[in-house]
């Protein structure tokens, strides 16, 4: 298997807050797989994702995508379109993910016009909306007319508009009600199969991760503490922190347990 993403000793230090958010993090994501990065708040998982995407410059270390260094934004004019087609991102908050003033048609049409001026825009917009399970009737809607699940679907369509190879899903289903979350998880599984996408799936929710991810990387304090195939990780976790995480998830027969004393 070839690694489509290679993170090499990625480090992010915020001088102003004297915070080491990500500490020499290295991992590979293989072509066509879904790698989940799991961790709690402050683990550095989102910062790592943002560095991979290029939204944040690493303090040190590098990101290789398809064997080439991926630079952080702003990108030089000549490389913008190509870099955009490598990685797209879907965010957590359905409310701030879309431009409130743009209709669905405008949101998608603008991207198509920029990336592929020749394309039949109307047909492509319809095709994208179909892909994410929304019909043509959504074209004239604005974000304020959409439910949370529908907004996330539009955000996914926007990401797909440039035919990217990789999607970074940063807690993309966390803000959704469980019944809608299940719909979007199924959609994401279908899209990966149909389009041969590679996913980097950032989440705090082990149940959700189990549903979508082939492999898991558990982060704590900016470092990877354990990486394993998802089923192995869940059935025989090795790192004490992974065990703690797993034990904390409610489910049949589960009882809340506390350690001796509170920390922090």
């Amino acid at each position: 298997m070839t690694a489509i993403i290679q993170a090499r000793k990625l480090t992010k230090r915020y001088e102003s807050a004297d915070l080491l958010a990500v500490d020499e993090l290295s991992f590979d994501v293989h072509q066509g797989e879904c790698l989940a990065v799991v961790g709690e708040s402050g683990s550095g998982k989102s910062t790592a994702a943002r560095m991979i995407a290029g939204l944040e410059a690493p303090t040190s270390g590098e990101v290789l995508v398809e064997g080439e260094a991926r630079p952080p934004v702003p990108w030089p004019r000549a490389r913008r379109r190509r870099l955009a087609r490598q990685i797209q991102m879907v965010y957590q908050d359905p409310i701030t993910s879309l431009d409130p003033l743009q209709t669905v048609q405008d949101t998608l049409g603008e991207i198509l016009a920029f990336h592929d001026a020749e394309a039949d825009r109307t047909a492509r917009v319809n095709e994208l909306l179909d892909r994410v399970g929304l019909g043509e009737r959504y074209r004239a809607r604005r974000p304020s007319d959409l439910s949370g699940g529908e907004r996330q679907r539009v955000a996914i369509a926007r990401a797909l508009a440039v035919n990217p190879k990789i999607l970074i899903l940063d807690e993309a289903v966390s803000a959704l009600d469980v019944s809608v979350q299940a719909q979007v998880l199924n959609l994401l599984a279908d899209l990966r199969a149909e389009l041969g996408l590679t996913y980097l799936f950032i989440s705090h929710d082990l149940g959700v991760v189990r549903q979508v991810a082939d492999r898991c990387l558990v982060m704590l304090g900016g470092r990877a503490v354990e990486t394993a195939d998802t089923e192995d990780l869940l059935s025989k976790p090795e790192h004490p922190y992974t065990k703690r995480l797993l034990e904390a998830v409610p489910g049949p027969g589960w009882r809340p347990a506390r350690r001796q004393a509170a920390v922090a």
Partner: protein, 331 residues
């Protein structure tokens, strides 16, 4: 056992530009002394607004019908003094976001001792320190002088629990108290909450969107959808042998961490609807995989099936039983 809290036919409507809009529809619940009742629902189900009605806190521009009886006394007819006493000594509430319910400019100690001002100063402090120790904060003396921003979300929620039990209430209302917390912190806060309940013989009304979490800490469960309770019964029955298609759907949507992996989730189609969006029939009919014509025209009344009250015309249908059985197998 007599019930401590009895809600009968609670209906809450809110005034909008186009007229009255229902939020909660004929809700009846009862909670035993030192019992724990989970109120589970997705966003907009009316679970929070119902809970606030227990405190006689109604949203602005709303009308509330029905009765809330606490310990044999109608909360809605309490006079001002009695209501104040009820709110400050009988019932305590903890919220999803403790930071917005604590004065950021006052210390944790000030906050904790607020409810016991009638005691002498030294005694107040001792009481607060021991209350902190009870919720797993051993260095209470140091914490007392800290400000809310110096505490993590999990610690602050423990402080809220400590403050809640200090006034010796009999009923604790917890509105998504761990939703904003990490899962390991959630586990600890829920454990602390459980210990506090046991120690103080507190009854708990636990509001959450997480059915599994509610199932772990309650003895009865009520599942709400669009302002209506769809299924209510003993926790084991509702969470392990659900009878209402909505409860079944919630469980089938939930990815599980233990047991067999679900190859594919079975989501509930559509999006959660609010009470005012329901037609004349069952509020869930529009999303229900088992709905028939009469489900859309006729509002089902709650029926006692086994130990649970189920609001569904078709609850005993073998098709629905099968769906429930599938979930049980998977978990």
């Amino acid at each position: 056992m007599t019930s401590l809290l009895e809600i009968r036919d609670l209906a809450i409507d809110i005034k909008t530009a186009t007229g009255w809009r229902p939020l909660v529809h004929s809700l009846s619940l009862s909670l035993n002394r030192s019992g724990a009742l989970g109120l589970v629902g997705e966003s907009g189900s009316g679970k929070s607004v119902s809970t606030r009605a227990v405190m006689r806190l109604a949203p602005e521009h709303s009308r509330v019908n029905g009765t809330v009886v606490y310990d044999g006394e109608d909360v809605n007819t309490m006079n001002r003094g009695r209501l104040r006493e009820y709110r400050s000594r009988q019932v305590a509430m903890i919220h999803q976001d403790p930071r917005s319910h604590i004065n950021p400019l006052r210390t944790v100690g000030d906050f904790l001792t607020e409810g016991v001002r009638h005691l002498p100063r030294g005694e107040r402090r001792e009481l607060a320190v021991s209350a902190l120790a009870d919720v797993g904060i051993p260095d209470g003396r140091r914490r007392m002088d800290q400000y809310p921003h110096q505490l993590s979300g999990g610690l602050l929620q423990r402080v809220m629990i400590a403050a809640a039990v200090m006034t010796g209430p009999k009923l604790l209302l917890a509105d998504e108290p761990t939703t904003a917390l990490d899962v390991t912190t959630q586990s600890e806060v829920m454990a602390v909450l459980g210990e506090a309940r046991e120690q103080h013989e507190l009854a708990l009304l636990f509001i959450t969107h997480d059915l599994e979490l509610a199932a772990a800490v309650t003895d009865r469960l009520a599942v709400m959808y669009a302002g209506t309770i769809m299924e209510e019964g003993p926790t084991a029955a509702v969470s392990r042998a659900p009878q209402h298609p909505y409860t079944i759907g919630l469980l089938a949507s939930q990815p599980n961490v233990r047991g067999a992996r679900r190859e594919r989730l079975t989501p509930i189609p559509g999006r959660p609807t609010a009470a005012h969006e329901s037609g004349p029939g069952c509020p869930f009919a529009g999303r229900c995989l088992f709905a028939e014509d009469h489900c859309r025209t006729e509002r089902p009344a709650p029926r006692l099936l086994g130990e649970s009250l189920v609001r569904c015309h078709r609850a005993e249908d073998p098709e629905i039983r099968q769906a429930a059985a599938r979930i049980q197998e998977e978990s």
